[in-house]
Structure formats: structure tokens, C-alpha cells
């Protein structure tokens, strides 16, 4: 080490700027990688730890209290694989939470007695008031934090026609439900409040069985279903550990995926950079290397002297990156807590540090070695004479006397072709980075410019207003609304829950799917006839289009033909579609569908909602400004997307800056004498800057434009991959060519400005000094 120390120091000093640029790119990579690793190592573990601490059940099923039997608990305990089981009562309600993030949020809720002893599914009370009010409620962390409810705030649950106002007296963490993605939430009432509430909803009281198993969850679920079917007991809800965890950690996994992908792309750039720098520094230092070899240094020692500075920078920058990432982790943790519904402190993880440093160091070592290994073959005398390799051009591109065209233009072309390596580097880096920009610009377009594309991918049917009429006024309200000139159309639409194969499934029933605005059906067709059904993506594979499926709802059983498959981000694919008539066949009582109202002008929504409230009063149960809810959701996503787009863009520009810095620095060093000669014979600074920029900018411009055009092909595939992981098999994201081009132009302009700024040092170089130095 001592023998090559001076070499290392010489390299580090000689190329400070390039090492700093390389270090910053590695630092950015390390930040992203460590964030991904810490999330990967800790969130899952924290989830399982919390799950264990609260002794959460593997499976929770609810059955109607009136169907429950005293012996059921023992029957369940007797099932194969069950290690423990307990039961408790709760009230199940299809509720709407008012003013949830400034909108109304439809949420199936199980109201529990908070004070009842729980061995399983314990609650971890995060904060609570000392005094309990007569309408106190303890909210799950997700509802409190995402819905923006604090202690002492009021929360209104609308159940049917009744609004219940509770006072938030505490926030509890639980691992049973967690977030909205499961379509089911808990709410915890102090004993007295619960008793009063349960009395009012005795018909909706359910018994929940919490079951712990050490065996196969799916097999046990089937056994439970068989058991309940055998006993003629309906299953109202069912949650299992695996699907709940998937739902709650979905965003976290998505972030890990995106961070890892981005880190890999940036790592690729940094690898390009160090390879480029090494092959250039070999050419620059050929004579020195020859002298060292002549003095008795071995090829290995010289290679080590070239590689080690990069490795040292990599190790230092990656450790620094890991340290910096811990500054970002708390905010990221908070964001994830909001979505995952449980809190976890992300702490220093030595495994993350080791992984980041090792991965980066190994990759950089590999690529630097492949770039530097040719030093071994360098013959000292050839190197000293400057005959080593590479320095002299091998081909005279565009001979000026034989090629048509202006000499100055041909000079740019000559330089472009003579500096092939740097142009390949810039092409590769620009192409890869443009993928990020194209993805970001498409997100920007679909979330901010055309938000319907994004929202419709994530949500179900989106009218402007949802009206729930009273049974006897359904037709009247519907007819009168239809005659309103400001209303474009009315659609009878119902959302409910049934069991398919003992799995609770959310249903969407509509009078005419031909008129819906959603595009949920990704395969086959929506159901039109009363004996048709479209199943959720969770059933794809089990059924094919054209298959017949028998569905039972209580005592009624109907057979349907599968016409297609629909997606749902919110219900993990556990959804299905019926025609209204078809769904009515499954219900003994007459269905009163909600009326989905579509306006000519969405801006009038607030006014029309007010009109409906004023005009229909008792004729309706509720009217919901769905447009507002959509806008709230959209605002949330717009905020996140804007941040992502800005971050990606800044990162891209930063990386382009560092890459251009290294390329231009290399060119300035390599061509110092050449520039001096040009200056001596009368070329001006401006001419030389234009010539230099002209020699490398076309390759990056070509890469940006090509990558942007190809974005029309690969961005939909990236979107498809990302949205598929969250359940949206078909997404409505559009790739706007114009937008891709706008972002490409911005990127090209940034490249140009950076290039001009970076080539400015040419001005400071005097022709005389350049010649004197050599």
C-alpha cells in the first residue's frame, strides 16, 4: 500500500473535480439504496414485531350474531392447524366518515368495545384523553392520521340515515385491519358508548372470531368456510394476515421498488462515468505509467493506483450517502405510517450500510478493473514514447479537402467522431436518464394536466354527485334529476358486499355498464344481462370467460356466466360486477340503488348538490359531492407527484451536470494542447466553445430525443408494471408525445446551458501558456 500511496494521492489531486462529481453520483445512489434497504429490512420486521406484540390473529372472520352458536368457538378451535381462537362482539356498518380529509369517505367499519378484554388483536393506545366523554371514540391510527383527526376533534359516521358524532378520545394502533385498502376498518368505543351504540344496531351486531394458526392460512380459511357453510352461517367479513400485510405494506414495497430501480439507473451512470474517466486517464497518464513500469512498478500496482481512488471515493461517498439517508428516513417513515396505519421508528441499520457499501464497492471495483486492466499489457518503452495506444487518432474522419461542407462544421463533426468514447457515454447516460424524465413527465401529465386518467385508474366509477334516494321516491327523484338541464345523465348504481367462495367481495351493480365512465373491465366485457357477472382480478385463473359461477347470498342462489374481469386497486381484486337486475336476483328485498349524477359542467357540482339538498329534503337519504372527494384525492396525488417529478428532474439535471462536468473536464485536459494550437492560429474562445459543445451535445440531444420518442413504447410498459403491482391491471395513463417533447426540450436546454457554463474555462486559458506548458 505504501508503494502506491503516492500514486493514489497523485490521482486524487490531479482529478479532484472528477472524483467529486463521481462521488456525488455515488452519494445519490447510496442515499436511494440505503432508503430501500432500510425499508426492506425494517418495515417488514417492524410489522411482524408489532403483529406479534399485539398477538394479532392470523384470520378474523365475522358472522351475524343471530346466526352464531355457542359451540362455534370450539368447532373452530378443533379445526386442523388452529392454535388458539377467541370471539368478541362488534357492530358492522357500511358507514360514511364525514369530513375525512375534507371529504366524505365511504368505509365499512366494525365498531368494537374497546374495554372488552382482548387476548388477541390487542390495541396499542398511542394517545388518549384522561377523561372519557359519553360519545368518545378511539380511532385507528390510519383514520386519525390520514383523516386528519386529532384528540378532542369530532368525527361523524353516517350509517344509513343516521349521523353519529363521536369525540376523538384516543388513537390506537392495531394490526388487524390497518388501512383503507382492505375495505374494512375498526373503530373502538368505550364500554358504555359501545353498549348504547350496539343497542341501536342490534341487527347489525356480529361476532368476530379471531384465529391463530401456525399452519397454512389458505387451507384454514377454506376449512372455516366449509364449517360455516355446513352450519348455515353467513360470513360477513374475513381478513387474513397475508392479504392485510400486503395491503398495508403496498406503498412501502412500491417505494422500495422505485428507489431500487432509480438507484440502479444512477449506479449505471456512475459506472459509465468511472469507466470513461479511467480509460481517459490511462491515455493522459500513459507516459507516467510507462515511467513507473520502467522503474519497476508492476502492472498490478499501477492498476491498484488507478482503481483505489475510485474505490476510496465510492466507500466514502456511500457511507456519507447512508448517513444522509437517515436524515430523510424519518419523513419517509411518517409518510409510510400514514399509509400503512402503524408507526415504526426507522433506526440505523448496519446491514443496510454493509449492503450499500459492498454492492457499490464491488460493482465499481469490477468496472474500474475492466477499464484499467489494459495497463498490464502496456509496454513501458511504448508508453514513454507515447506510442501506447489510443492517443493518436486511427482514422481521419471527414477529410476537409475531400468532404463537402463548411470547414467549421466539418471540424465539429471530426471532433464528434474522434471522441467516440465520450459520445457513447453521453448517449448512454442521456438515454437512461431520459427514461426517468419520460416517466416523470408522463406522471405529471396524467396527474396534473389530465388528472382523470390517473384517478380513474385508481378508483371505481366517478360521477360528480351520488344521491341516495328514499325507497318510495327513487323513481321520482331519478326522473326529476334527469329533467334538470344541467345534469347530463343519471345512472343507477349500487355498491355492496356478497360472498363468493366464502370470500367477502365488493360488488358494483349498474343499470347499464355501457354508460359508465370507468374502465375497470380489463378483459372481456361488463355484464349486461341479469345472468352475467364480471369477476375481480383476484378470481382470474380460477375462472375463465364463459364459465358459469354459482353465487349464494343468504338463502338465495343464482348462477351467472362470467363475461369478463375487472380490476380494483382498493379491494385487492376482490370485486365483481353485476347488472342491476342481476344483483337484484340475489336479494330478497327490493334494492334501492344510489343515483350517480353526471353533470354537463363539473364546476357546477357544489351548486347542484346544494339544489338537491334544498329541493329533495326528505326524499333523499344523502347526497354526496363525489367530485370534491375526487378532487381531494387528486390534490393529494398531485402533491406527491409534483414532488416526485421535481425530484426526478433535479436528480436528472444534477447527474447530467456531473457527467458533463467530467466529460468537459476530460476534454479540456485532453485537448489542452489542441486548444492552445487552435487559439494560436486564431480561433476565438467562442469558436472553440461552440466546437467543443458541438462535438458532444448532438449525441446527448439525439439520445434525449430518441429516448423520448421511444418513451411512447416503454413508458406504458413501466406504467403497466407499476400499476399492476398495486392491482390496476389496466391503467388509463396516457403518454403525451407533446409532453415528452416539452420535457425533452427542457432537458436539452439544461444540457446546453450547463455545457456553456462548463466550457467557459476555455476563456481563461491563454494560448501561450498552453504551448509553454508542453
Amino acid at each position: 500500500m505504501g508503494k502506491i500511496k503516492s500514486q493514489i494521492m497523485y490521482n486524487l489531486k490531479k482529478d479532484k473535480g472528477s472524483y467529486i462529481s463521481f462521488g456525488i453520483v455515488v452519494l445519490i445512489t447510496a442515499i436511494m439504496l440505503n432508503l430501500a434497504f432500510v425499508l426492506m429490512f425494517q418495515v417488514d420486521k417492524a410489522y411482524d414485531k408489532k403483529f406479534g406484540e399485539l398477538n394479532t390473529a392470523s384470520i378474523n372472520v365475522t358472522v351475524p350474531k343471530f346466526q352464531n352458536t355457542d359451540t362455534l368457538i370450539n368447532d373452530i378451535k378443533a379445526l386442523n392447524g388452529v392454535t388458539d381462537a377467541e370471539s368478541r362482539e362488534a357492530v358492522f356498518a357500511e358507514a360514511v366518515v364525514k369530513d375525512f380529509r375534507a371529504t366524505d369517505f365511504s368505509m365499512n367499519t366494525l365498531f368494537y368495545n374497546k374495554d372488552e378484554y382482548r387476548n388477541m388483536n390487542r390495541l396499542d393506545i398511542k394517545e388518549e384523553k384522561a377523561e372519557i366523554a359519553e360519545n368518545s371514540i378511539y380511532l385507528p391510527l390510519y383514520v386519525a392520521s390520514f383523516g386528519e383527526f386529532g384528540l378532542d376533534d369530532e368525527i361523524v359516521y353516517e350509517i344509513g340515515n343516521t349521523k353519529y358524532t363521536f369525540k376523538v378520545s384516543g388513537v390506537a394502533e392495531e394490526m388487524q385491519y390497518g388501512n383503507y385498502g382492505k375495505g374494512l376498518m375498526g373503530a373502538y368505543l368505550p364500554e358504555k358508548v359501545y353498549e348504547k351504540f350496539a343497542n341501536e344496531y342490534s341487527e347489525q351486531t356480529v361476532v368476530e372470531y379471531s384465529i391463530i394458526t401456525s399452519g397454512d392460512i389458505n387451507a384454514l380459511q377454506n376449512d372455516i368456510s366449509d364449517l360455516l357453510e355446513e352450519k348455515g352461517i353467513a360470513m360477513i367479513t374475513s381478513c387474513d394476515r397475508i392479504s392485510t400485510k400486503d395491503t398495508r405494506t403496498m406503498v412501502c414495497n412500491l417505494i422500495i421498488l422505485v428507489l431500487s430501480a432509480f438507484a440502479m439507473i444512477i449506479l449505471l451512470v456512475s459506472v459509465f462515468l468511472c469507466k470513461f474517466r479511467i480509460s481517459n486517464s490511462i491515455e493522459e497518464d500513459m507516459v507516467n505509467m510507462g515511467v513507473l513500469k520502467a522503474l519497476g512498478y508492476t502492472g498490478g500496482m499501477i492498476i491498484a493506483g488507478v482503481i483505489l481512488p475510485y474505490l476510496m471515493v465510492t466507500v466514502f461517498a456511500s457511507m456519507l450517502g447512508v448517513a444522509v439517508s437517515y436524515g430523510i428516513l424519518p419523513s419517509l417513515g411518517e409518510l409510510l405510517t400514514l399509509q400503512a396505519g402503524f408507526s415504526f421508528g426507522l433506526v440505523f441499520d448496519i446491514k443496510g450500510l454493509i449492503c450499500v457499501v459492498t454492492i457499490l464497492a464491488v460493482i465499481v471495483a469490477f468496472f474500474t478493473y475492466t477499464a484499467a486492466k489494459r495497463i498490464r499489457k502496456l509496454q513501458p518503452i511504448n508508453a514513454i514514447r507515447g506510442n501506447g495506444e489510443g492517443k493518436s487518432a486511427k482514422k481521419n474522419y471527414f477529410p476537409l479537402d475531400e468532404t463537402n461542407g463548411k470547414t467549421k462544421m466539418l471540424l465539429v463533426l471530426k471532433q464528434t467522431f474522434s471522441n467516440g468514447k465520450q459520445n457513447i457515454l453521453l448517449f448512454g447516460v442521456s438515454f437512461v436518464l431520459t427514461i426517468l424524465v419520460a416517466f416523470a413527465s408522463t406522471m405529471f401529465y396524467n396527474v396534473i394536466i389530465e388528472p382523470d386518467n390517473f384517478i380513474s385508474t385508481l378508483s371505481e366509477e366517478m360521477p360528480q354527485i351520488i344521491v341516495s334516494p328514499n325507497e318510495q321516491y327513487e323513481e321520482t327523484v331519478s326522473d326529476e334529476l334527469k329533467s334538470n338541464s344541467e345534469i347530463k345523465s343519471i345512472l343507477k348504481y349500487t355498491v355492496g358486499t356478497i360472498n363468493i367462495e366464502d370470500t367477502p367481495v365488493t360488488i358494483f351493480a349498474c343499470e347499464d355498464f355501457g354508460r359508465v365512465s370507468n374502465d375497470l373491465c380489463y378483459l372481456g366485457e361488463n355484464p349486461n344481462e341479469k345472468d352475467e357477472i364480471a369477476l375481480g382480478s383476484a378470481f382470474e385463473g380460477k375462472y375463465n370467460i364463459g364459465d358459469s359461477i354459482e353465487i349464494q347470498n343468504g338463502d338465495i342462489s343464482c348462477s351467472y356466466e362470467v363475461t369478463g374481469f375487472v380490476q380494483s386497486v382498493n379491494y385487492q381484486g376482490n370485486v365483481c360486477e353485476f347488472s342491476l337486475e342481476g344483483y337484484e336476483g340475489l336479494n330478497s328485498e327490493k334494492l334501492v340503488p344510489t343515483l350517480y349524477v353526471y353533470l354537463n359542467n363539473a364546476a357546477d357540482t357544489e351548486k347542484i348538490v346544494k339544489e338537491i339538498e334544498d329541493n329533495y329534503g326528505d326524499k333523499i337519504i344523502s347526497v354526496m359531492n363525489y367530485q370534491k372527494m375526487t378532487e381531494t384525492t387528486q390534490e393529494m396525488y398531485s402533491g406527491i407527484t409534483s414532488v416526485i417529478v421535481v425530484v426526478i428532474f433535479i436528480l436528472t439535471i444534477l447527474i447530467v451536470l456531473f457527467v458533463l462536468y467530467i466529460v468537459i473536464k476530460t476534454l479540456l485536459v485532453q485537448q489542452k494542447q489542441e486548444l492552445g494550437i487552435y487559439k494560436a492560429i486564431g480561433y476565438s474562445n467562442k469558436q472553440l466553445m461552440v466546437q467543443m459543445i458541438g462535438s458532444f451535445l448532438p449525441s446527448s440531444v439525439a439520445a434525449v430525443l430518441l429516448s423520448s420518442v421511444l418513451g411512447l413504447i416503454y413508458v406504458p410498459q413501466i406504467n403497466q408494471f407499476i400499476f399492476q403491482t398495486i392491482g390496476a391491471i389496466k391503467n388509463n395513463m396516457e403518454v403525451s408525445f407533446v409532453f415528452l417533447m416539452i420535457f425533452a426540450l427542457v432537458q436539452i436546454t439544461a444540457n446546453l446551458i450547463i455545457s456553456i457554463l462548463l466550457t467557459k474555462p476555455i476563456k481563461k486559458i491563454s494560448a501561450y501558456a498552453l504551448i509553454k506548458e508542453n
Binding site: 489542441e674 494560448a767 504551448i771
Partner: protein, 307 residues
């Protein structure tokens, strides 16, 4: 030209002995009458003075009160100070001096390649010391050609491309530039096949001759040559010097730095730099091969200068 602060040496007297008119040497006007041999008849006007033919020479470069100082950290080194010099059109001026005397620094200052610390340089009526870098670049491309000891051809280009790269600066007529380049290559005896080679693929002499072609492609007022034969063997040196002589005979003004006596013989005027001043100025007359008298005169001059 002798600096007023300096003693008049024998060498100068020898110089004056050959001169037809010597008193005009110090005339600070643009057009002066200088002593010269009659062969040097390419200058603008020939006037009669006491029955003898005299040549009226035109000052091409006039430097006044020049100072050049190099600063390295806290230390500074003065290369020359209060230096005045005139360079005449059509002259093949040789600058000699010991190593480190500031010969090259003086030459590059006069060419606008380097900036003097103080003083003014008027080059063809233009005060180039006032120019910024880009103005100097434009000035150089129109007025100066450079030939370097290390040749400094652009390595990624053929000899022809090197020449055309310079040629493109002053003419948009590419065809004309190519024609001139070919003529010049012929003049310096570089065949077409060699013109297409890179500088690394030809001999030093060929490369240097291509360097001369590049220097004169734009018909500069002056060719500045910094020890152009310093890195060449004797055969190649002679070939290169012959090219310079040929150019000079065709009227090209040349300023050349050298410490080689044989090379210096090619000039018609020799300036000797010592102690930061023009220590001596010797008029040799135009180059004639095997002219022992010129050689003797130069020997005497150099001996006087302490060479």
C-alpha cells in the same frame, strides 16, 4: 536598433560599416530609412541618397517600453523591462540570446500570443496590447503565422486538414484555400500522399514543413517561428530552413527565435537579447549560401554579445 541606454559595441559598428545610411535607425516614425544591402530590394521605396541606393523600410511592429514579469506566488521574475523594438516589414529577423533570456517571451509578446505586463505594441497600425482575448485571436488569424519547435500539429488530423483548419479562419472559399494549400505543400516539397497522413506518421521535418504551410496559409503579415529546427536532425533542419529562406525571398516577414548560428544565418537581421534588453542588433543582409562574409560578421557580432 540599439537601446539608448546601452553602449555601442563593435558589432554594432560593424553593422553600421555596411550600412548605407545609419542615422535613421532611431527615427521614431512609421516609415524609416534603414541601412540594408541592395539585394533586399523588395521594400516599398527606393530613394537615392548621395548617389547610393537606399531602401525605405516600413515598420511592421513597434513595441515601446515593454515589460514582462512572471509572478509565482510571492516571487516575481522580470524577463524584460523598458524594452523598445521595431520590426520591419519584409525582414527575416532572428532573435538570439542565452537560454532563459526571454527570446521566446519577447517573440510571443510581439505576436499577441502573450500579453506584456506593461508597454504598448503597435502591429500594422493596430495597438494590440489593448485587445481582449477574442480580438487578439481575430488579429492573430489575420496577421500571424506560427511555427513551433514542438511542431504542434493537431494529432487527430491529417497534415492537409491541419492546414485547412487554419485556412478556414480567413476564407470561406474552401476551394481556393485547398488550392493554396496544395501549392504551398508543393513549395515545401510534401507530396499528396503525405498530406493525407497524420503528424505522427511522418518525419519531424515533414511535419514541421506542414507546420510552416499552416503558418502561411492565411498569408500572414509575419511568420513567428520559435526554434523551428530545435527538434530536427540536420537534414530535416536544412529542408525546413530552406523553406523559410524561400518564403523570405518571396517577401514574407519572419521573426525567428533560435540559438543555432546556422539557423541565424538565414536571417537578414539578428537581435541579441540579454539582461532583459535588446543588447545588440546586427544587419546581415539577405541570405546567400556559403557566404563567408556573412558568417564572419555574425561570428563577430555574437562574440561581442558574449555568445
Amino acid at each position: 536598433m540599439i537601446n539608448k541606454k546601452m553602449p555601442v559595441f563593435a558589432a554594432n559598428q560593424a553593422f553600421f560599416k555596411d550600412a548605407t545610411i545609419s542615422s535613421v535607425l532611431f527615427t521614431p516614425c512609421k516609415q524609416v530609412l534603414v541601412a540594408d544591402t541592395l539585394e533586399n530590394s523588395y521594400n516599398e521605396t527606393i530613394k537615392s541618397n548621395g548617389g547610393k541606393a537606399v531602401t525605405m523600410k516600413e515598420i511592421l511592429i513597434s513595441a515601446k517600453n515593454l515589460k514582462k514579469e512572471f509572478c509565482t506566488g510571492e516571487t516575481s521574475q522580470t524577463i524584460f523591462e523598458n524594452l523598445d523594438i521595431d520590426i520591419y516589414k519584409g525582414d527575416f529577423t532572428i532573435i538570439m540570446g542565452a537560454s532563459g533570456a526571454g527570446k521566446s517571451t519577447l517573440m510571443y509578446s510581439l505576436s499577441g500570443m502573450d500579453r506584456p505586463t506593461n508597454g504598448s505594441i503597435v502591429f500594422s497600425d493596430e495597438e494590440i496590447t489593448k485587445y481582449n482575448d477574442d480580438e487578439l485571436a481575430v488579429f492573430r488569424r489575420k496577421n500571424c503565422g506560427f511555427v513551433f519547435q514542438q511542431i504542434y500539429l493537431l494529432e487527430k488530423m491529417s497534415l492537409m486538414d491541419n492546414v485547412l483548419t487554419a485556412g478556414a479562419l480567413c476564407s470561406d472559399n474552401k476551394k481556393e484555400v485547398i488550392e493554396r494549400a496544395k501549392e504551398l505543400f508543393e513549395l515545401v516539397n510534401i507530396p499528396e500522399i503525405t498530406q493525407k497522413k497524420f503528424s505522427t506518421q511522418v518525419s519531424g521535418g515533414e511535419a514541421q514543413r506542414a507546420g510552416i504551410v499552416r503558418a502561411v496559409i492565411n498569408k500572414p503579415s509575419v511568420v513567428f517561428a520559435d526554434e523551428p529546427t530545435g527538434a530536427l536532425n540536420s537534414n530535416n533542419s536544412a529542408a525546413v530552413l530552406n523553406v523559410f529562406t524561400k518564403l523570405h525571398r518571396e517577401g514574407q516577414s519572419i521573426i525567428m527565435v533560435t540559438h543555432d548560428k546556422k539557423t541565424a544565418l538565414r536571417g537578414n537581421r539578428v537581435l541579441y537579447v540579454r539582461d532583459g534588453q535588446i543588447f545588440g542588433d546586427c544587419a546581415l543582409g539577405n541570405y546567400v549560401e556559403s557566404d563567408n562574409e556573412r558568417e564572419r560578421k555574425l561570428d563577430e557580432f555574437l562574440t561581442e554579445m558574449g555568445w
